[in-house]
């Protein structure tokens, strides 16, 4: 009886700990590592592929998540607004097949690089947990912002806090970013090992 209680407690605690593991990955202020992932043309892309950029808007996303779909247009608009100014969007897909990624990017005419993180190592290194999940990096690759694109997934016009735009504008103006991390509901990234 006592043994059973002890066993139950040990298992219970082990279970709780396994359920509460703190996600590894980047925090604001950390230095992001570079990566090398294939774009839809099979060309390997890394942060080094953008030598003239002033920073990067790295977005972990996928094809089918309703939130990712809802933000599809806004992600393209971010790239169109800021790539010329030095902040290109680099989208990383952790969930779909190479074929599905190529198909979607061509159908939707994505203006940015849509990369396939086949081994999921980049997503794990950054600590991406859901889609869409944004990491804004400065030129020196320190993380300036982590979180959502804005505060209304459903209606872009109704969003009154445009977190990513505000953060990029602040960086461009050499000002301090007011909101450096936010949270939004997203689709869990499905890890291959689990």
């Amino acid at each position: 009886m006592i043994l059973r209680a002890i066993l139950l407690t040990v298992f219970g605690i082990a279970f709780i700990i396994s359920g509460m593991t703190v996600p590894q990955g980047l925090n604001v202020g950390d230095r992001a590592t570079d990566f090398s992932l294939a774009n839809i043309d099979g060309k390997m892309i890394s942060l080094d592929s953008y030598p003239n950029s002033k920073g990067y808007i790295v977005i972990f996303t996928c094809n089918n998540c309703p939130y990712a779909k809802a933000y599809q247009r806004r992600i393209a608009e971010l790239h169109n607004a800021y790539a010329q100014k030095g902040f290109p969007v680099i989208a990383i897909n952790t969930s779909d097949s190479k074929e599905a990624i190529v198909k979607r990017a061509k159908e939707q005419n994505y203006p940015y690089d849509y990369l396939h993180d086949e081994t999921q190592e980049v997503s794990k290194a950054y600590g991406a947990l859901k889609t869409p999940h944004v990491y804004i990096l400065k030129k020196d690759r320190t993380v300036a912002y982590i979180g959502a694109i804005d505060n209304n997934y459903k209606d872009a016009d109704a969003a009154d806090k445009k977190y990513v735009r505000d953060a990029v504008e602040s960086l461009l103006a050499n000002k301090e970013i007011k909101i450096t991390s936010t949270k939004a509901i997203g689709c869990t990234i499905k890890w291959k090992s689990s």
Partner: protein
């Protein structure tokens, strides 16, 4: 003896229902028809974040465990784990399960209600009608990234809370309940 008399009673009963049914067959048809409509489909309350926090904080039944599960019809791991919450809710344990759908409120009639009906969900289902979750997520639990499925277990006797950002596999939810009951 009891078996045979029971059988006779049942037959008699059926004859009565048949006769009454024949006389009032249209009334009966309407009653049966409306009953078939209502039987498995529960009312789904649409709530705002304030109402959700109020519900969690006030502990509707003080001597019970309350389990809140955040899910959506489009979320495959959420849909997979719902049977575990259902069997917990339907067990004789002192547990109250609330399934909080974060589906778009515009899909309530088209997606959420038919889903709840099709799966014959008995747990209490509410739809959280919000589009900005930035502050909501931290108020539920600081460790929540915002990914679903996510679950909050509140022990209303002690006020203790356990939060999980994960899909519960068979037996895991039971263990979590066991854990909080044994260590209130």
């Amino acid at each position: 003896m009891s078996l045979s008399s029971g059988k006779t009673n049942m037959t008699k009963g059926l004859v009565v229902v048949y006769k009454v049914g024949y006389r009032f067959r249209w009334t009966l048809a309407v009653i049966l028809f409306s009953y078939s409509f209502d039987s498995s489909g529960q009312q789904i309350e649409v709530i705002k974040a304030d109402q959700l926090f109020h519900m969690i904080d006030q502990c509707p039944e003080k001597n019970k465990l309350h389990v809140y599960n955040f899910w959506a019809t489009w979320c495959a791991p959420c849909v997979r784990e719902i049977p575990h919450f259902e069997s917990l809710n339907n067990s004789d344990r002192n547990v109250n399960v609330t399934l909080i759908s974060i589906d778009d409120v515009d899909l309530l009639e088209k997606k959420v209600i038919p889903f709840v009906k099709r799966k014959e969900i008995k747990s209490n289902v509410v739809l959280l009608d919000e589009t900005d979750f930035n502050e909501i997520i931290d108020k539920i639990d600081k460790s929540w990234s915002g990914a679903i499925p996510a679950s909050l277990i509140v022990d209303c006797r002690s006020g203790k809370r356990l939060f999980y950002e994960k899909e519960f596999k068979a037996g895991e939810l039971e263990k979590a309940i066991e854990m909080i009951i044994n260590h209130p």
